[in-house]
């Protein structure tokens, strides 16, 4: 099983190469990059941490769903640890014979990663303060991610 998490810088070119092939005509990619601000406050650096075993498993499930739903090849990598501004936090590359499924699957994977993969982000601000990022802040209370039960 490939690892979807890495503490080393992500090389998007390698991901593109992994999903390219002589029979494929298009590659759609998405790169998530560390921004220098959050809600107007200047961010110095970020620290990503994860529930690693589940993050790997959930990433594998998302990739499997994309590959089942569209005729595509998918590469996904999420960085953990400390990241500087401008570094790539997440990279997705999707190769396909046609561009529509490449775009659709790429979008699907990033949306599902954000929604379902247990990764957290600590922001270090210029004024010395530190904060766990809560993308749901300001919205209503947290809701279940998916009504996924388990066999009993």
């Amino acid at each position: 099983m490939p690892s979807y998490l890495t503490r080393a810088p992500i090389d998007p070119t390698a991901l593109v190469a992994a999903v390219s092939g002589a029979e494929l005509g298009g590659v759609a990619t998405f790169l998530g990059v560390v921004r220098n601000h959050q809600d107007g406050q200047p961010v110095l650096r970020l620290e990503y941490s994860a529930y690693e075993a589940m993050a790997e498993a959930e990433s594998a499930r998302i990739v499997a769903e994309a590959v089942e739903r569209w005729p595509v090849r998918v590469a996904l990598r999420h960085r953990l640890g400390e990241l500087a501004i401008g570094e790539v936090a997440v990279a997705i590359a999707v190769g396909s014979a046609h561009r529509a499924p490449a775009f659709e699957a790429c979008r699907y994977v990033i949306e599902e990663v954000k929604r379902r993969v247990p990764i957290w982000k600590k922001e270090f601000f210029a004024d010395g303060s530190v904060r766990w990022v809560d993308p749901t802040a300001g919205r209503e209370a947290t809701r279940p991610v998916a009504p996924i039960g388990r066999e009993v």
């Binding site: 999420h78 954000k114 247990p118 991610v145």
Partner: protein, 81 residues
């Protein structure tokens, strides 16, 4: 029976640990274990009423049944990507 509860990010900060082993009566659900956790560890009071949860590394619900040896994780709002 016994359940391992994992805590991450803000929840680990609140409770002061990332992992705790809790006893649980048979036929417990995630909600039951969560109630037990709140009683056992004062910091757990800061965890929302209905947090995101995972059982054995899969997203689950508060009414998901728990079995002996299960790994229950309480997940703060995710922020990957």
């Amino acid at each position: 029976m016994s359940v391992r509860v994992l805590l991450f990010a803000t929840y680990a900060d609140l409770v002061g640990t990332g992992s705790v082993e809790l006893p649980a009566p048979p036929a417990s659900t995630v909600a039951d274990v969560l109630a037990h956790l709140r009683g056992a560890l004062p910091g757990a009071a800061g965890i929302p009423e209905r947090p995101l949860v995972a059982v054995n590394q899969m997203h689950a619900r508060l009414d998901t049944p728990i079995r002996d040896g299960d790994e229950l994780a309480l997940l703060p709002p995710m922020a990957g990507g």
